[in-house]
């Protein structure tokens, strides 16, 4: 008896006409690790929420078909009719935003994790034992007395996972749980999840980090427009010829093997490093640097353009002996010096390394305690944020922190009008920016009717439209699928070509390797490495990268193995 049986499931959100789930049937066996892949809007989250009973119990709407759980000792459970507060004994859900998963009722991590058990009425000694076990398992035991709201995003997400794990559900659903985490945090989450799956827990994971899905999942469900296109082992799914058309970029290993025609006995291409290397034992292949570049960037031509953009040496920002602290006793930066030229620059590092603080200083939102930041030769300490607004653009991580107009075009025109553009000019710039971010045709929509990934594009467009010399992006790829990431990559190339400096804070290392010329690695308020992509990720820096808790891009891992 499969643990989850989904039969002919159809679903429409209230007030809409499109079927988000259109005749979905699927069975999942106990202990399986299932990945769900597909473009944004394919119905992945909705499907997972149907297993949790949130669809239709919480969201209402039109529902057809059924989802049946079969739990040992409990018999068959219909998720449409069993209350969610009962279902939560069997199914746990972890989602993207760690902050919203905190109950808000507890002032310590320990109490937060115990919250669900209190509601289930678990005995005290049992409760304490379980809380201690999961806190240690997720490496957050030391934070047990801290206020969960004071933790970083990655730590908060681990608290959220602990809060679900502690309830010991048989099925755990993770809906892009690592999108807001640094690479090390991501790795930790995946490791924990993998351990869980070995203990017989059934796992359903939605994830855009495709290499991770490929190496952890037993099977992958490929979705498109509310339908299941295919269910198979990762190697088969990613070897499909139409995979990119479905909005999923196959792992770098699959792309590499396709190029060199390295096949599994069954004719599929391997999707993980291990399986690729296993096939290469005893084989000689002639790999040139160009080929690797091609695998990395997808297109050869683009990489050539990249190397030649921006006249090097023209200094945009000159930071010298910068010191900064939020509170008197903790220094964030001490005597930091750095200069930024026009090369597109990625700033990477663990959560809490000081990346956001640095770009906020560049933007003038924070003032240095000592030292100077020169922008175009002038000290920015003497300028107000509003004065800098026309020169330096900054896209915040969360689009909901800025959106307030009732249609997309007005929202995007707000910035340009503020910095003194004429109505016509502002409109022209905004339409151009919207087109660049793939929002053409959505000008009249209410931003709040758009999905999060589209709202992020609106936020980016609203800053691009200001036509600033510098544009700073804080985690632009969060919540984006492959087409979305390509759109952002296109924007970065376009702006660099226009001679603008693009600075981005990123956790997605493959995106960094594909789209940036300069990489700055930060840890604990210091710059550990600074240079071109190839030199920063070269094997001689392995130790420093490990120290900064950075995981290399998969393409570099592959090259090293070769």
């Amino acid at each position: 008896m499969p643990v989850i049986t989904i039969e002919n499931l159809k679903y429409k959100y209230p007030g809409t006409d499109t079927l988000v789930l259109n005749d979905v049937s699927l069975t999942i066996e106990k202990g399986e690790f299932i990945g769900i892949a597909g473009a944004n809007g394919a119905g992945k989250s909705t499907l997972s929420q149907a297993v949790m009973g949130l669809v239709p119990q919480f969201y209402k709407g039109a529902y057809g078909g059924k989802v049946i759980l079969s739990i040992d000792g409990e018999g068959e459970i219909n998720t449409k009719t069993t209350p969610i507060t009962k279902l939560c004994e069997y199914v746990g859900l972890i989602f993207q935003n760690p902050f919203n998963q905190l109950s808000g009722a507890k002032d310590t991590v320990y109490g937060e994790v115990a919250f669900g058990l209190q509601n289930l009425g678990v005995e005290r000694e049992e409760m304490k034992r379980r809380v201690e076990t999961v806190l240690k398992q997720l490496d957050i035991w030391e934070y047990r007395d801290r206020n969960p709201f004071d933790l970083s995003g990655g730590q908060m997400q681990r608290v959220a996972i602990a809060s679900i794990l502690v309830m010991q559900p048989s099925i755990i659903i993770l809906d892009e749980p690592t999108s807001q985490l640094d690479p090390q945090g991501t790795e930790e989450v995946f490791r924990v999840v993998d351990q869980l799956s070995k203990t017989g827990i059934t796992i359903i994971m939605i994830e855009q980090k495709i290499e991770k899905l490929a190496s952890f999942c037993d099977r992958i469900v490929l979705m498109d427009k509310g339908r299941i296109v295919d269910i198979d082992v990762p190697d088969n799914i990613f070897s499909r010829d139409d995979i990119e058309e479905l909005g999923v970029r196959p792992p770098v290993f699959t792309r590499f093997c396709k190029k060199y025609d390295i096949k599994n006995p069954d004719g599929s291409y391997p999707a993980t490093l291990e399986r690729t290397m296993a096939l290469l034992v005893g084989r000689e292949i002639d790999v040139t640097e160009d080929d690797i570049g091609e695998i990395q960037n997808g297109k050869k031509a683009e990489s050539v353009v990249l190397e030649s953009t921006g006249p090097e040496g023209e200094i945009v920002f000159n930071v010298s002996r910068l010191s900064f602290s939020y509170t008197a006793d903790v220094d964030i930066f001490k005597e930091l010096s750095l200069s930024l030229d026009k090369r597109p620059t990625a700033i990477i590092g663990q959560n809490g390394a000081g990346k956001t603080t640095l770009v906020r200083l560049l933007k003038g939102l924070l003032k240095p305690v000592s030292g100077t930041i020169l922008f175009g030769g002038e000290d920015i300490a003497e300028k107000t944020v509003a004065m800098l607004a026309g020169k330096v653009g900054y896209v915040f991580q969360n689009p909901d922190d800025q959106i307030f107009k009732y249609n997309v075009l007005d929202e995007v025109m707000f910035g340009p009008l503020n910095i003194g553009m004429s109505e016509d000019e502002a409109r022209e710039q905004s339409l151009k920016a919207l087109e660049l971010m793939g929002l053409k045709g959505k000008e009249k929509e209410n931003p709040y009717d758009l999905e999060l990934f589209e709202r992020k594009m609106v936020a980016i467009a609203s800053v691009v439209a200001m036509d600033t010399d510098v544009i700073i992006l804080d985690e632009p790829t969060i919540a984006q699928d492959y087409p979305g990431r390509q759109m952002i990559a296109g924007m970065i190339h376009e702006l660099s070509k226009q001679g603008k400096l693009v600075i981005a804070i990123l956790h997605d290392m493959d995106f960094v390797a594909d789209n940036f010329e300069r990489v700055i690695v930060m840890a604990h308020g210091k710059i550990l490495l600074d240079g071109g992509v190839k030199s920063v990720f070269s094997s001689e820096n392995n130790e420093i990268l490990a120290m900064a808790r950075i995981q290399k891009p998969y393409s570099f891992l592959l090259c090293e193995e070769l």
């Binding site: 009722a105 919250f115 669900g116 058990l117 509601n119 944020v385 607004a389």
Partner: protein, 257 residues
């Protein structure tokens, strides 16, 4: 995180006391002078509250409360001392203003009452974590949903305040002036407040899901991480306070006969 509760954990005996014992103290502090009907009882309770605050090392934190009550008390003195309707006997004169005995006595009564209440309430607020109080209330049969509202106000309101800072930065980054003349500030109101409201609404929906998937709202008796058993001190203080109230009542009854 900026906390909006006044609670300070100094690890003193006051922090270890059960919230209900401290509530009982408020009751006693307010009831004894009122029942006893003697101004000296107010003074006695005020002195005892001050001593308790001092022993809990929080007298400094109580100063704003005292300062606040003093402005109020002075106003009452002026009004009652000068204009109370039963004013007959002149008491003293300052700058040609005559204060009357009846009004001054009346104002003293009110003033001491206010100070007494504020101090005894101060002991409670300064030494009891809101979380602990809500837990105890829920254990005594209070609705968990109502408890959640109180708790979440203390947790989520400070979060909303910090979201407001981020939003201000985001809009300033887009060239919006947030400081200066009234008209500038008024124009900035909508761009600042709409995202706060909208993102709170979005967050609320997600949080509702988060609570539900953790079994909140289930018709089942909750369990607790710890019992806040009343300790020896609690019992002793409780007995003393109840005895005090009873004694005052008896004394008053005997006196009236």
């Amino acid at each position: 995180m900026k906390s909006i509760s006044l609670f300070i954990d100094k690890g003193t005996w006051l922090n270890r006391l059960h919230p209900y014992t401290k509530l009982l103290y408020i009751l006693a502090a307010v009831a004894v002078p009122l029942i006893g009907g003697n101004l000296w009882l107010f003074v006695a309770m005020i002195v005892s509250s001050l001593l308790i605050l001092a022993s809990g090392k929080i007298i400094k934190n109580a100063l704003p409360l005292i300062a606040f009550s003093f402005t109020l008390i002075i106003v009452i003195f002026l009004i009652q001392g000068l204009f109370n309707h039963s004013n007959e006997t002149a008491f003293f004169s300052v700058f040609g203003l005559t204060f009357y005995k009846e009004g001054v006595m009346y104002a003293t009564g009110i003033g001491l009452n206010i100070l007494n209440m504020l101090l005894s309430f101060g002991i409670f607020v300064l030494t009891t974590s809101p979380q602990e109080l809500v837990d105890e209330l829920e254990k005594s049969g209070f609705s968990p949903k109502f408890g959640y509202i109180i708790n979440s106000v203390f947790q989520i309101l400070p979060q909303m305040m910090s979201t407001k800072d981020t939003i201000t930065d985001a809009q300033r980054s887009r060239g919006m002036e947030t400081e200066g003349k009234l008209i500038v500030r008024m124009k900035a109101f909508l761009p600042l407040i709409s995202p706060v409201v909208m993102s709170s609404l979005i967050n609320t929906r997600e949080r509702a899901i988060a609570l539900e998937v953790r079994g909140f709202g289930r018709k089942q008796k909750k369990t607790w991480l710890s019992d806040r058993e009343k300790n020896k001190g609690d019992r002793l203080i409780g007995i003393i306070l109840v005895a005090l109230i009873v004694l005052t009542i008896v004394w008053r009854v005997v006196l009236c006969r």
